[in-house]
Symmetry: C2
Subunit: 184 residues, 2 copies
């Protein structure tokens, strides 16, 4: 079978292709932006957009939304990781955790919609926030430089290593299992 | 003359009525929500919405957008004061300023649109962020409890005192002056 991934990010498409080919699922890109109002949770964004783009294209679609959660705060940076980094920088992010619990999680919600409606698949990657910025000169996403997985900065992991354990891989594998079992 | 203020907040309507009656301007409410995507600045939100609601109602309209800015950070909490408070609480807001410059500002942008196009009027209220939460048991907006004006918590000021010095009053007075001069 084939599903359509609504994203402008080609790296996400390649990651999804790699993970879902083990389930004999093809992935094709729909290069559109999702609708992401600031008051919606990851799940709500994934659900709303999966329904919207299924209605638009009448083909099975997936939409993902990813957030970062610091245990020391209620819901921060939550579903707004990029905005928070833009407003506070590393200075603010690290300051917030001085003397606090450093546990953190990446979470992805993948919304899948077909003629039977929408389903949500959650993926989680647990770690801690470092006290310093790693790999500052290289090309990484902001949180990858301060997120530690078993004590190792995420920015030190190879793409292969990341694809094995990432929050997005976790949710895509759950989607793959769901779709495979459904077909049997 | 009469202008229409797009807001669901009756307190804002009353404040605007009081300020603009000195300029012989009537204020009427249009009880609608403004469009406020997270990537837009105060000015962009005010401008976009003033144009939008002028086009919709074909009457002179105003729309305001307010933010809070901590000098120690680039653009925080910026045009997202409510979201930041919801995500971080007082714990996070106060933590961010430990040992930092405590200067802060409220800023309002009022967008006014009529048949001649859109104009923006900025208002500012300067102060400092306190190290503690004031008037915790009473009914105040979150930032009013931690914002100090000449050393006094904003939540200790009477409504009259606030209306005289507030960021919104500042921008509305500029609007009043503009509209009055235009008519002469």
């Amino acid at each position: 079978m084939k599903i359509h991934f609504v994203t402008k990010n080609l790296h996400k498409i390649n990651e999804a292709k790699e993970i879902l080919k083990e389930f004999n699922i093809d992935v094709e890109q729909i290069a559109e932006d999702k609708y992401e109002p600031k008051e919606l949770s990851l799940k709500d964004v994934a659900e709303y957009n999966a329904k919207f783009f299924y209605e638009k294209y009448k083909k099975p679609v997936i939409v993902d939304d990813t957030g970062v959660f610091f245990k020391a705060y209620k819901d921060f940076p939550g579903s707004h990781p990029k905005l928070m980094f833009d407003l506070l920088g590393y200075k603010g992010l690290l300051k917030l955790l001085e003397g606090e619990n450093r546990d953190a999680q990446f979470r992805t919600c993948v919304g899948y919609c077909d003629e039977n409606g929408v389903r949500i698949f959650d993926g989680i990657l647990k770690g801690k926030i470092d006290t310093k910025i790693n790999n500052a000169d290289e090309d990484f996403l902001p949180y990858e430089r301060i997120f530690l997985i078993n004590g190792r900065p995420m920015s030190n992991l190879s793409r292969d290593e990341k694809n094995k354990i990432s929050h997005r891989a976790d949710s895509l594998k759950k989607l793959g299992q769901f779709l495979t079992q459904k077909k049997i």
